[in-house]
């Protein structure tokens, strides 16, 4: 208890504490620190929207200016969470609108956002500046129009990979006629065409615009006219890059691109045609971020482009880059920190594979600053993983997706246990890991023993028994999020390590062997966990021993949620009641 420092002094000191993790620790010291901290926190982050009630959050942080929320479990990205599961933004928007009208920024990920929500935001927060929606759904372009027209101080409007009911491009014309304060605009996920004149006029009156991400329907022939009006861009997401241009148009566009002296980030590039790659030559040397994951160009053309990008820090590309292309990256992109290689969707039953584990080995050798990887590959070897680990002990995020489930090391036919062991042993700062390929319980023993800083782990088609889960839950001290699909265990390890689950944000398990009975026991044992059973069939109609399709377990101080759909059951705390499904919208 620290009565020596006056409130004002503490407040001043805390204003330098930025990270929310640190602020959370500060809050735990004593009551006066808790009080001081809460009155000074401006940026609030809630990693699971069901972990706490909106009202509590609104009340706790009177100076809140920015709210970030996450809703659905990560595996919702891969269609493993049925539609309608939840993650509604409305209760939060409503609560903040009533109590925190000075809120300026809202960032939502994997949540259901309706037009009503957007209209409420527009109507309630007079200084509203930033709306970033990532992987959200439930709204239409009408809602966007409401934001555009009403939020006079709007700086950021970003729709990242959202599913939007696209009613047309009119929304763009709703921005105020006077100059706007727009700094970033991202509508790359929308389908419909926006009027060129609307866009041109918007750019002309948005002198602060630094980031512009167009959608695919913006054709190449109009790009020049847009860039001319926004030469100060730092980030550009083009529209489609495949329309036919005559030589004069090409010359003009080349010039317009070369005028983008501040450009650091380039994306979009849908259907990029090889003959247009030279147009990008002028921007390459300055680029720190390049997203080619929608550009269907082949390796030789990719090499042509990437060999000019010596400052590149972030590269997203498709496996069309092949090993040879990655070798070029290893040679030329010495500043690379993040690499993602996505599958081009071609047949998985290939015998001739031109992207192999060798590609990643090359990059791990050549790019000394590489710390984050997402790599899709048909098969892998332990030797490659060992090399990669030796080369790059500085990995913070390593996500390997061997696309063939249960694929062993294709040279030795051994499980990939030893390979992943090398990764967790060497990479002491590893925060995020996704494993794949053939893995036995041993792999998870290694992970439990070595991956002490690991916060998020994703597993599919792996392991032999409950030991696997037991190793993880008893070993990984920093584990916050665990998601598992199609693994052969459940009950014993879960119940043995029940206490661990309260130290984690969430655990997802689908198509595993977790029984309804174990779910009940777990819920009974742990009052501050919500144990959700997501199943087509009501669990009550089956014996306790039958496995449930999916479970989602998360810590919460808000109790069971009240908005569950008919296929979600929150297990009640008293066993006699069984399951509760309170559904109040």
């Amino acid at each position: 208890m620290d009565r020596r420092f006056p409130f004002k002094v503490l407040e001043h000191i805390f204003s330098f504490v930025d990270s929310n993790e640190d602020r959370n620790s500060v809050s735990l010291v004593c009551k006066s620190w808790f009080e001081t901290e809460r009155r000074t926190r401006k940026r609030v982050f809630v990693g699971n929207c069901y972990a706490v009630s909106p009202l509590k959050v609104a009340r706790r942080f009177p100076k809140m200016r920015s709210l970030t929320l996450k809703g659905k479990p990560h595996f919702a990205d891969y269609n493993l969470v049925p539609d309608g599961w939840g993650g509604y933004a409305w209760p939060w928007i409503e609560a903040m609108a009533a109590r925190r009208p000075l809120l300026e920024e809202i960032r939502l990920k994997r949540m259901v956002v309706t037009d009503e929500c957007l209209e409420k935001i527009a109507a309630s927060f007079r200084d509203f500046k930033t709306l970033v929606l990532t992987s959200c759904e439930g709204f239409s372009t009408d809602g966007i129009a409401a934001i555009a027209s009403t939020c006079r101080k709007l700086r950021d409007l970003e729709l990242r990979e959202c599913i939007v009911d696209d009613l047309g491009g009119d929304w763009l014309s709703y921005f105020p006629e006077t100059s706007t304060s727009l700094v970033s605009l991202d509508f790359s996920c929308l389908d419909s065409e926006v009027k060129l004149s609307d866009l041109e006029r918007l750019l002309s009156r948005s002198p602060n615009l630094k980031s512009l991400k167009l959608n695919r329907s913006v054709t190449l022939d109009v790009l020049e006219s847009l860039l001319r009006r926004a030469p100060q861009l730092v980030e550009l997401g083009t529209g489609s890059f495949s329309d036919e241009l005559d030589p004069e148009e090409i010359a003009k566009l080349t010039k317009a691109l070369s005028e983008l002296k501040q450009l650091k980030s380039l994306s979009g590039l849908w259907d990029l045609l090889p003959e247009y790659i030279p147009l990008l030559y002028s921007v390459c040397p300055r680029l720190t971020s390049l997203n080619l994951s929608y550009a269907t160009v082949q390796m030789p053309d990719l090499i042509d482009l990437l060999s000019r990008c010596s400052k590149l820090q972030k590269l997203w590309v498709m496996d069309l880059i092949e090993d040879k292309g990655l070798k070029t990256v290893a040679l030329c992109c010495k500043e690379l920190r993040e690499l993602r290689v996505f599958p081009s969707g071609a047949d998985l039953d290939e015998t001739d594979v031109t992207l192999t584990e060798q590609g990643l080995v090359s990059v791990s050798e050549g790019c000394k600053k590489l710390e984050s990887v997402l790599y899709f590959c048909v098969q892998f070897t332990n030797a490659a993983l060992v090399s990669i680990a030796k080369n790059r002990p500085n990995f913070r995020c390593f996500r390997l997706c061997v696309m063939e489930p249960f694929a062993p090391d294709y040279r030795t036919q051994q499980p990939l246990d030893e390979g992943f062991k090398a990764i967790v042993e060497k990479c002491k700062d590893l925060r995020r890991l996704s494993v794949s390929g053939l893995l036995t319980d041993k792999a998870f023993e290694y992970i439990g023993v070595h991956a002490k800083k690991l916060r998020m782990l994703s597993i599919a088609f792996a392991g032999d028994s409950d030991l696997m889960l037991h190793h993880l839950l008893s070993g990984c001290q920093s584990l916050k999020k665990l998601e598992i699909r199609d693994c052969p265990f459940g009950d014993t390890a879960l119940l043995e390590n029940a206490a661990k689950l309260e130290t984690m944000r969430s655990l997802w398990m689908s198509s595993c062997f977790v029984s309804f009975g174990a779910c009940k026991q777990l819920s009974q044992k742990m009052p501050r966990l919500n144990v959700e059973v997501i199943d087509e069939h009501p669990p009550k109609t089956r014996p306790d021993s039958s496995p449930v399709e999916r479970i989602y377990i998360y810590r919460t101080v808000a109790g069971p949620r009240l908005d569950t759909p008919e296929f979600v059951w929150t297990i009640h705390k008293s066993p006699e009641v069984g399951v509760s499904r309170l559904s109040i919208r």
Partner: protein
């Protein structure tokens, strides 16, 4: 490894089997989203040709966001040329007709193709572009209307040398 009794739990009660409640014998019920059992079978018994669900049938696998999957709904086909070390993949949707496709192939593999005529195929250059269609048949590129070709082509093979000549003369 199994625990007999853990925390007073009788594991027999919670023993899980993939089967209908009440049955003693565990039936191998295959859920599409769980490929584990069939794969294990393959590993232990190489002769048996059990058919695991194909990868495209496994829900949410490979783990690529549906947003990305939808955006990349391109029809990539593999293109091989006899004698060339590398396979290429092309997106047929980027071409509107045969001349465009053939020009691209010529550029890609650095060859020239003869002139196409319906009656006589590709004359003269000893290079023959062929493709495998949905039914697994190998056809000559150009024989069917473009739209039909682009929707049924699964892979391309550019034949050269003696193979090409044999086929050429047979057509």
């Amino acid at each position: 490894m199994a625990y007999e009794k853990v925390n007073e739990l009788n594991l027999k009660d919670t023993e899980l089997r993939l089967g209908l409640p009440g049955t003693e014998q565990a039936k191998e019920e295959q859920e599409v989203s769980c490929v584990r059992s069939s794969k294990r079978q393959l590993q232990s018994d190489n002769e048996e040709e059990s058919t695991p669900p194909t990868k495209s049938q496994i829900v949410g696998w490979p783990p690529v966001r549906s947003y990305r999957k939808n955006n990349n709904s391109v029809s990539y086909v593999k293109v091989s040329m006899d004698g060339a070390p590398y396979l290429r993949k092309i997106d047929l949707k980027t071409y509107k007709n045969y001349p465009e496709l053939l020009k691209a192939l010529e550029n890609m593999f650095k060859f020239t193709i003869g002139e196409y005529s319906e009656r006589e195929g590709y004359k003269g250059s000893g290079v023959l572009p062929t493709y495998e269609d949905k039914d697994g048949d190998w056809m000559l590129v150009g024989d069917v209307p473009w739209d039909m070709f682009s929707s049924s082509c699964k892979r391309l093979r550019i034949m050269k040398g003696s193979d090409a000549l044999v086929l050429d003369s047979a057509l």
